[in-house]
């Protein structure tokens, strides 16, 4: 396919795809911890809170170099996180409100600074676009290299502090008791999350960066119960979303990259939710239906057995209506009888139903398994 060969030959596409992949990997890895720690929306708050940092960094240095702006964004995002923690710890305001306040107020302050800077009240549009929605197409190779270097450092920290982060995510108290300074570990992990988010801001944009933190991790969670596997899968899903979004948006006219990346990630989440082995909702549905059918069939078999017990005659037919009155839910009786017949456990004759000898054996076995003490199946079923 053309697009895939372009991926290796076209400079812009290659740069954008690589950059998006780096973002996907880093935010997937750090997002895994955020999702496990129920801090999914911290990413949203951090990305919004970064705006004043970017403006101030620009104001102070006068430079639009991405490293300077990233630094400013990181500091502001970090302060925002700290404010959230302080509000939650020392007042009764809950974390959702604290996140909401930090997110919107920091963003508001950033907007004021930005418009103040530009000295005109309608300056919203100038420069903010890039921050809000990202501008993947504007990525250049040097920026991708910066991102890869910073992302690599963040990932190295994750590998070095793997054990500590795992403890923090699953059993903070236990970690504390082992002598780890969990509050320090917490700050380090949160700082890395800030780095991951800030890296993605100029490509994916503020609004959608939170999705890059949550979606790959939430998808990966469906496939496994092991942290290593989850983190690796989240990195993979993040990378696939990034490259996929870049490729799709480059091959279709007028489709922005950031939202396309998010849609790719959302699609992966949907597939994972439905089809992941074990946790997949589809399998869950099927399993539920199968066990409901088994229970219903066995109940009818037990009823036939109870009826047999009154005559001890395998050729005595019992009308389906009798079985329907005996069943808790009369709807499924006909289907259950058909299934019993197809398995050779029951047969119909003389306008009624009866056990086969094989059916009698199975029913006895089931009966014996469940009522070893010999309690009759249905007392007084006359």
């Amino acid at each position: 396919m053309d697009v895939f060969s372009d991926l290796f030959t076209d400079y812009t596409l290659r740069t954008v795809a690589l950059g998006s992949a780096v973002i996907g990997v880093v935010s997937g890895v750090l997002g895994s911890f955020a999702v496990l720690r129920r801090q999914s929306l911290l990413g949203d708050a951090i990305s919004h809170a970064a705006l004043p940092g970017i403006v101030v960094a620009y104001l102070v240095t006068g430079s639009k170099a991405s490293l300077v702006l990233v630094l400013g964004a990181a500091v502001a995002g970090w302060i925002g996180t700290l404010v959230v923690m302080t509000i939650v710890r020392s007042s009764r305001v809950k974390s959702d409100s604290a996140l909401g306040i930090v997110l919107s107020v920091f963003f508001g302050v950033g907007l004021v600074l930005l418009t103040f800077l530009q000295r005109r009240p309608d300056a919203n549009q100038a420069g903010l676009d890039k921050f809000l929605f990202g501008q993947a197409a504007g990525l250049v190779q040097s920026e991708v290299l910066t991102m890869a270097a910073l992302g690599g450092i963040a990932l190295a920290f994750v590998i070095l502090l793997w054990k500590e982060f795992k403890l923090l995510s699953f059993d903070r108290g236990f970690g504390e008791s082992l002598g780890f300074r969990m509050s320090v570990v917490d700050v380090v992990l949160t700082t890395l999350l800030v780095v991951a988010i800030v890296l993605g801001l100029q490509t994916v944009g503020v609004v959608l960066m939170s999705a890059m933190v949550v979606a790959p991790a939430a998808a990966a969670r469906q496939w496994t119960d092991r942290l290593v596997v989850m983190v690796a899968l989240a990195a993979l899903f993040g990378a696939v979303s990034g490259v996929g979004g870049a490729v799709i948006s480059s091959s279709t006219a007028r489709i922005p990259t950031g939202p396309t990346i998010v849609l790719c990630a959302s699609a992966i989440v949907m597939v994972s939710l439905l089809f992941a082995p074990n946790r997949g909702l589809l399998w869950n549905r099927l399993r539920g239906a199968r066990s409901r059918r088994r229970l219903r069939t066995e109940a009818v078999l037990a009823d036939l057995y109870a009826l047999w017990g009154q005559h001890e005659d395998l050729d005595h037919a019992h009308p389906a209506a009798v079985l329907e009155t005996m069943a808790l839910n009369r709807g499924g009786v006909a289907g259950a009888l058909d299934e019993l017949a197809s398995r050779g456990l029951a047969r119909s004759a003389d306008g009624g139903w009866m056990l086969t000898s094989e059916g009698l054996r199975v029913a006895r076995k089931l009966h014996g398994e469940r009522f070893e003490s010999g309690i009759p199946l249905q007392e007084g079923a006359t």
Binding site: G108, L208, P259
Partner: protein, 369 residues
């Protein structure tokens, strides 16, 4: 003040109060971030309704936004109830998805018409007075004022009519269900109001800053009172204050009005957070230091009682040696001794500190003797 200035402030105040009213219940029900989710995803509703009506001023846009807002909440609950993702992750999955769809639709199909995503996200109050309702040649005022006014009235009416139900469903959903009020119905009604309010406000302040107006004033009010009625009134007042304060800040800085309103709301919250009587940082610090001093006085009394009438008493109750026995620093000890003497728990007799009857009684009470 010129007429546009007055009109802008009026719109700002109505918007802020209209946002603060449902915000109270979002904060109390720990659903604050649903407002963030709704305010973003309603963009999809606006876009879809716009495709149908081709009119940016059509009331159908509000309706479409409200529907998508409720759909957002329903999707979050669906994901949450599936047990596969937690609520915070569910919110973080749903709204970026809906928002992305909206942005892609806009950039692909609506590029030629006026539907500006920035305007939705950021809003611009300064332009609000330009869009006016003109009926039979009469200028009846800015359109946004009517829209927000109507939403404000609906919000007030909802809270007045369903005050009891809202209170019950917020503080004890199980009891509400047992008494036959449907907490689910109340929940969705509230969420519809949040959606309608958010879409009305996006014109004025944009969808990101709607969150500030919905969450910050009610959170500040939450730190000031334990009474729901008072919290609603306080939230409305603080919201109005943010609007006016924000407007004038923007006026003097020549900066974005919406951003200034959000900043003002944040500043008010910060002030309340530090200075609130009873719950503020300062009040808490003062309470802690009072408690520390009182506890220390009791410990001092217990220590003195412990050694009273024993051979070691002269040594153990020497004023200049006590800090060693109690392991306190000398400054703290003299502060404790001074305040204990003032309360009449101890008296100094020469070198020794001696318990009074009151002090002895206090120590015995502590030791449950």
């Amino acid at each position: 003040m010129s007429q546009p200035q007055l009109e802008i402030q009026l719109i700002a105040v109505i918007t802020a109060v209209a946002c603060a009213l449902p915000g109270v219940f979002l904060v109390l029900r720990r659903l604050a971030l649903l407002s963030d989710a709704i305010s973003h995803s309603i963009l999809l509703g606006i876009v879809l309704a716009f495709f149908v009506t081709r009119d940016i001023a059509s009331p159908a846009l509000v309706l479409g936004a409200a529907v998508v807002g409720v759909v957002t909440v329903a999707l979050v609950e669906l994901l949450n109830r599936s047990g596969r993702v937690r609520e915070d992750a569910a919110i973080g999955l749903v709204f970026p998805f809906l928002f992305s769809v909206a942005v892609i639709l806009i950039s692909r199909y609506a590029g030629t018409v006026h539907l500006d995503v920035d305007a939705v996200l950021l809003g611009e109050l300064a332009f609000a007075p330009l869009d006016r309702v003109i009926l039979a040649g009469w200028d009846l005022g800015p359109r946004v004022a009517y829209l927000m006014g109507a939403i404000f009235v609906v919000n007030v009416a909802f809270i007045l009519l369903f005050y009891k139900e809202l209170k019950l469903a917020t503080f004890d959903a199980a009891l509400a269900a047992a008494l036959g009020f449907s907490p689910v119905l109340i929940h969705y009604l509230l969420m519809s109001l949040v959606s309608v309010t958010a879409v009305g406000a996006f014109d004025a302040v944009g969808s990101i800053l709607v969150v500030a107006l919905m969450i910050a004033p009610p959170s500040a009010a939450y730190l000031l009172t334990d009474n729901l009625g008072r919290m609603v009134l306080l939230a409305a007042m603080l919201g109005a204050l943010s609007a006016i304060g924000g407007y004038w800040t923007a006026h003097f800085l020549d900066a974005s009005i919406a951003g200034s309103m959000a900043s003002a709301a944040g500043a008010i919250f910060a002030l309340v957070f530090v200075f609130a009587p009873g719950r503020g940082l300062l009040a808490a610090a003062r309470r802690r230091s009072t408690q520390k001093l009182e506890f220390a006085q009791t410990m001092l009394a217990v220590h003195l009682l412990n050694h009273e009438g024993r051979p070691e008493q002269p040594e153990e109750s020497r004023v200049d040696g006590l800090h060693r026995h109690l392991r306190w620093d000398q400054g703290f000890l003299s502060q404790v001794v001074r305040s204990a003497a003032r309360r009449g728990l101890v008296v100094e007799q020469g070198q020794e500190l001696v318990l009074t009857d009151d002090g002895r009684a206090a120590a015995r009470r502590t030791l449950v003797l």
